[in-house]
Symmetry: C2
Subunit: 343 residues, 2 copies
DNA sequence: GCCTCTTGTGTAAACGTTTTCATTATCTAT
DNA sequence: ATAGATAATGAAAACGTTTACACAAGAGGC
């Protein structure tokens, strides 16, 4: 009484038809007669048949998988992006396979090989780096890959990002408008392209107000609360020339700055103003509620997957450049962590 | 000059051997002679061969996929669990396929069918519910499924959870020890098994201190900050019999309570103490830092995947019951949101 | 009544692997 | 020398599908 999984052959036998007919009854019902269609249906029900997807995919030379390369799946920042992607993919009949690269190029390469080995039909990169095997794709052939979150300079694959320079500019401008002039910037890791773009926006805002950016006011963090704390401790130590405002490249670091400020008995925003980046869920309920640049993470994911699906639909066709990269808009959310410059 | 992907046949031809030999050179190198092994290696390099995983899996009747059913991938709570799972799976050569069920039984059923259709070798359930197709598995056959996070009553599949009753007890006990007696509980959704368990722990702690649980002090939230805010507003309104302490079933709701308390000019912990649950990353850096029950999310994921891998290794063998469920320990982290009962 | 067109079905090839079995060549022990 | 073991390889079956092609039967037009 061994449990044997029913194959298409069992169904065919049970219905008294050929396996071809069973297959057709399932995928091209209109070419098979009403009566046999019914026979097949009852046979399927009787046998408990479920098509072996692997066999099917082998034949059709597709996998139905979309591979998603993420630097760290443990980072909640990605979860909402992921959700947007998953939803779109699922609606189109694709499954999402997560590849956690841990920022290791080797793992990126391993996963990128999934495309060649038919384990995935397409790929979305959230990791800001082109995996090695992809870099030497023969010219003229455009791999089914979409880049999201972090643009990759010199790579003209379809991309969906926010305008980091502009967002940083508007955040800094907000502080300038409040009368601040000693504005510190807690940036991301230097290696990161986001950092470059946001520093540029910060600089442009300052210089258009006639202020020269002071390099000693720019700190490199790693997006974490802890790095925000230590940056702020260092910058606020010197009570004489301390900055009156901080523009931080993540909400985490902004929170770190606030923690450090409170530690020193400074009030936010009375003594020091703080702007974050991302608008994580807690930003609105921190104390004080955080002024920040909202990053539409779900939209980012949705755009990425829809770009990819469009690409997959017209395989073979040379996709018109369209607008590339696609920019999803950010929004400066003004809450209570920013206020006028003291005296 | 069409890009044609090399198959094992191309390699065989290039090396002047049969495809069987190529396959053996790759998977059983010891049975093939040194010289041909080399020939095959150079042929592989020359052709750029990558094995077609789908064909391989079809033949081997496996998929190398572990399906992970999550109620909402957008919820950051799961990201660290996921990370633990992904790491273990990846080390064992498995890929993780995420199934976002949105709490819809229909989607759960769809995904559970992946097991039958060979799209996944095994499954981990984080959603606290047995998908319908799994419920009527013939007795005696144990499907390769592990349950994590939320136990499923009456289901004796391998399970890894925390002891919610005990954790809730220790959190409540902490408040009792500080002299509180009017202790409110902001619970999760009533339908949730976590809620039942934690309410039980809360009740047991009270009654062992000779206090009778007051039903009007128990509120049902949905784990969100917002639900914590509205619960606390309602409970703190009556300044006469207001609770002096809150035990909340999530850090989000605890933060909501603090927000609402501050709104009313109450100080935490001076006027009201608050305990959360989960120990999310921000808990330590909220104002005040949150006393909470730490839930080892990564460990949870690691345990789940290792249970599953053990199960997969000894297929056919009847797995000894072992300790089931596996309990991963929680820890009460005392920070500054709790203090002695006022007056 | 014959040709053609349509409709429904079956046969068999193909997808790219792994593995059983048979075959040959080489080696060891008598 | 010869039987028997050992080592290396190839031929072909199998995994479970989809689909090109062939075929039979009935319908319609002359």
């Amino acid at each position: 009484m061994i449990e044997k999984i029913a194959t298409i052959e069992d169904v065919a036998e049970h219905a008294g038809v050929s396996i071809a007919t069973v297959s057709r009854a399932l995928h091209k019902p209109h070419v098979v007669s009403e009566s046999t269609r019914e026979k097949v249906q009852t046979a399927i029900a009787a046998t408990g048949y479920t098509a072996n997807v692997m066999a099917r995919n082998l034949r059709l030379n597709r996998s139905g998988m979309i591979l998603l390369l993420v630097p760290d799946i443990g980072n909640p920042f990605f979860s909402e992006i992921l959700s947007g992607i998953e939803q779109g993919a699922s609606k189109a009949g694709y499954n999402v396979l997560i590849g956690d690269t841990q920022n290791e190029p080797e793992r990126e390469a391993t996963y990128a090989a999934y495309l060649r080995s038919n384990q995935a039909d397409a790929m979305i990169l959230l990791n800001g780096r082109l995996p090695a095997p992809l870099a030497n794709t023969p010219r003229g052939i455009i791999p089914p890959v979409v880049i999201a979150c972090e643009r990759i300079p010199g790579c003209n694959l379809p991309t969906v990002i926010i305008d980091n320079e502009k967002a940083a500019h508007s955040a800094t401008k907000h502080l300038l408008d409040l009368g601040h002039s000693r504005i510190a910037h807690i940036a991301g890791p230097a290696s990161n392209i986001l950092t470059t773009d946001r520093v540029a926006g910060y600089r442009r805002a300052l210089s258009s107000s006639g202020i020269e950016a002071n390099p000693s006011l720019i700190y490199s963090g790693d997006f974490s609360i802890e790095s925000g704390i230590s940056a702020a401790r260092a910058l606020l130590k010197d009570s004489k020339n301390r900055p009156t405002a901080f523009f931080c490249s993540s909400d985490g670091m902004a929170i770190g700055v606030i923690v450090a400020a409170k530690e020193l008995g400074l009030r936010v925003p009375h003594d020091v103003s703080v702007v974050g980046f991302d608008d994580i869920h807690l930003a609105a309920n921190y104390d004080p509620p955080l002024t920040t640049v909202r990053q539409p993470r779900r939209r980012l994911g949705e755009q990425a997957i829809s770009l990819l699906l469009a690409r997959l639909d017209k395989t073979g066709t040379i996709p018109e450049p369209a607008e590339n990269p696609v920019i999803v808009p950010t929004e400066l959310i003004i809450r209570q962590s920013t206020g006028p410059c003291p005296n």
